[in-house]
Symmetry: C2
Subunit: 311 residues, 2 copies
């Protein structure tokens, strides 16, 4: 029986699983810490793959997702935010040299989009927009049944589109990006600023403010917390209106930790999206929905990549 | 000899030409006014096609470009800005019923992008961004050797992306779109406002201000006129930086009347683009260049559409 292997590489943990050609239930699945003193991450990856490697069945391909800019055509990881050992690292070639099977590499948010499209909330659509809203904002786009990757795999970084030219500084150093205004980090930063301005809130007694603690306060009626999510929703809606003008998708899938609190910002998001839509045509058969695969989206995308043989 | 027919429908004029399978030199070419009292535009189109129809050779397909939102999958023209007779008009079907050959329809800026990619400044690239800057700003995008059209053909309307949320009102009614800040109309509007504010300029004596008269004044050293183009270039550069983040193209092709004055805004465009680029990776092998096909871009795109049989 031909098998396929999917790998999800994160800054903290790597997961790998083997699958048959027609099932989403892993034959074997395992995980390992990405970094450990004296043990380079690439060696740990080989070790992990060894653990889930089929004993007898042949492996047709390995699909891998990793964070940070990477080139899917060359399989080179440019840099991974939390894996400083890997700079311009030929990840696909390295794994291929150990196992002698085709190795395909894709950006984490892109492959999560691919996973949701093939196996999750976006099944059956041909034009899909996926946004994962957590610490940052990642994204992936399906255009006419293909993942948008661009010339070198750097396309579809929609968290780094300018939505407010004079807005707050983004993690990337630029100003006013969507990520700097509507990510979980941005929500927490805005609440901190408002509290510092003297705005009353039940959150003033919380030491470590995060999108999660703010969501809990909002659910309990805290006005500042509610406003923080509504504000993020407004900017998300405004940005999504622009993304509709760019891609004309039939579905927008929202994933990531912040999307679990969608009830706190769905109204402001949809209202801003409608208000800023270039034309009503873009809204006609548009679905906005939550991601279905949770933390498995990337692994499922890596599996789709292994099975299809290309992005 | 199999022939292909290309049609470029504009608000003022329609052009049609017939071609062999392997040449860009038309076998026959003609034009007609789009509108005339007592003569519906669709009948005029049929008349024009009759004039250039090959006497003996079979026609394999007709490619047509038209302004305004249209659905290339159904061949329905939603509305054409200067052809009020056509609302939700089944243009492709109408022509097919007269000539009984496949008829393919594409948006004018999209097909101009296709033309520049197949036969003009973008030859050989796989990921291309085309902006035509004239009265408005139109655009077309080639993603992995295919035209981006989206679910219903409304994608890639990059002139209607918000670049300045509190900026001027756009023709479409929304605020701060690229078209409202950097089109020829926007350049003229800004100069008018500055003159009304009392800013000195040689243009104060010009009655009908347009991007062209402002360009002439700029070439002769008028400071306000020069500033108007530099300002437009800055916003174009900022917007293009975002489009690189979205599409990761290897070439940006600039067309339209305003692009003929590129020397007046190339520096500000490139400077703003570099300043706002999400990462230097996006600039590595990027070419910014002027369109080559001029007013023939749409017709050439329609020919490409006819020959390839799809967008």
């Amino acid at each position: 029986m031909t098998t396929y292997i999917a790998v999800d590489i994160g800054g903290t943990r790597m997961r790998a699983a083997s699958y048959s050609a027609d099932s989403l239930t892993p034959l074997k699945i395992d995980r390992i810490k990405t970094r450990k003193v004296g043990s380079p991450p690439e060696e740990r990856l080989i070790k992990l793959l060894g653990r889930i490697w089929p004993e007898a069945d042949p492996v047709a391909a390995i699909g891998m997702t990793a964070p940070g800019p990477l080139d899917p055509t060359t399989g080179i990881l440019v840099k991974a935010p939390n894996i400083p050992e890997w700079i311009d690292f030929p990840l696909a070639d390295y794994v291929n040299q150990h196992f002698h099977v085709p190795v395909l590499l894709g950006n984490d948010a892109n492959l999560a989009a691919l996973g949701e499209w093939k196996f999750g909330a976006g099944r059956g659509h041909h034009h899909l927009l996926y946004l994962t809203i957590s610490t940052g904002i990642g994204s992936g786009v399906i255009v006419n049944d293909s993942l948008l990757v661009g010339a070198h795999g750097y396309a579809a970084e929609l968290g780094h589109i300018t939505v407010l030219p004079d807005g707050p500084i983004c993690n990337c150093g630029q100003r006013g990006h969507l990520e700097a205004i509507a990510s979980g980090t941005a929500i927490a930063n805005w609440v901190k600023t408002e509290i510092a301005r003297g705005i009353p809130s039940s959150l003033t007694v919380i030491e470590e403010l995060s999108a999660q603690t703010i969501a809990e306060a909002a659910q309990q009626g805290d006005q500042l917390a509610q406003e923080a999510f509504q504000r993020a929703g407004t900017y998300l809606g405004q940005a999504i209106a622009d993304f509709l003008t760019v891609f004309n998708p039939t579905i927008v899938v929202l994933g990531g930790g912040v999307s679990l609190s969608y009830d706190l910002f769905s109204e402001s998001l949809q209202s801003a999206m409608r208000q800023h839509a270039f034309d009503e045509n873009y809204l006609d058969d548009l679905t906005i929905t939550l991601a279905e695969l949770g933390d498995d989206a990337g692994l499922m995308g890596a599996l789709a990549l292994a099975r299809d043989g290309h992005c």
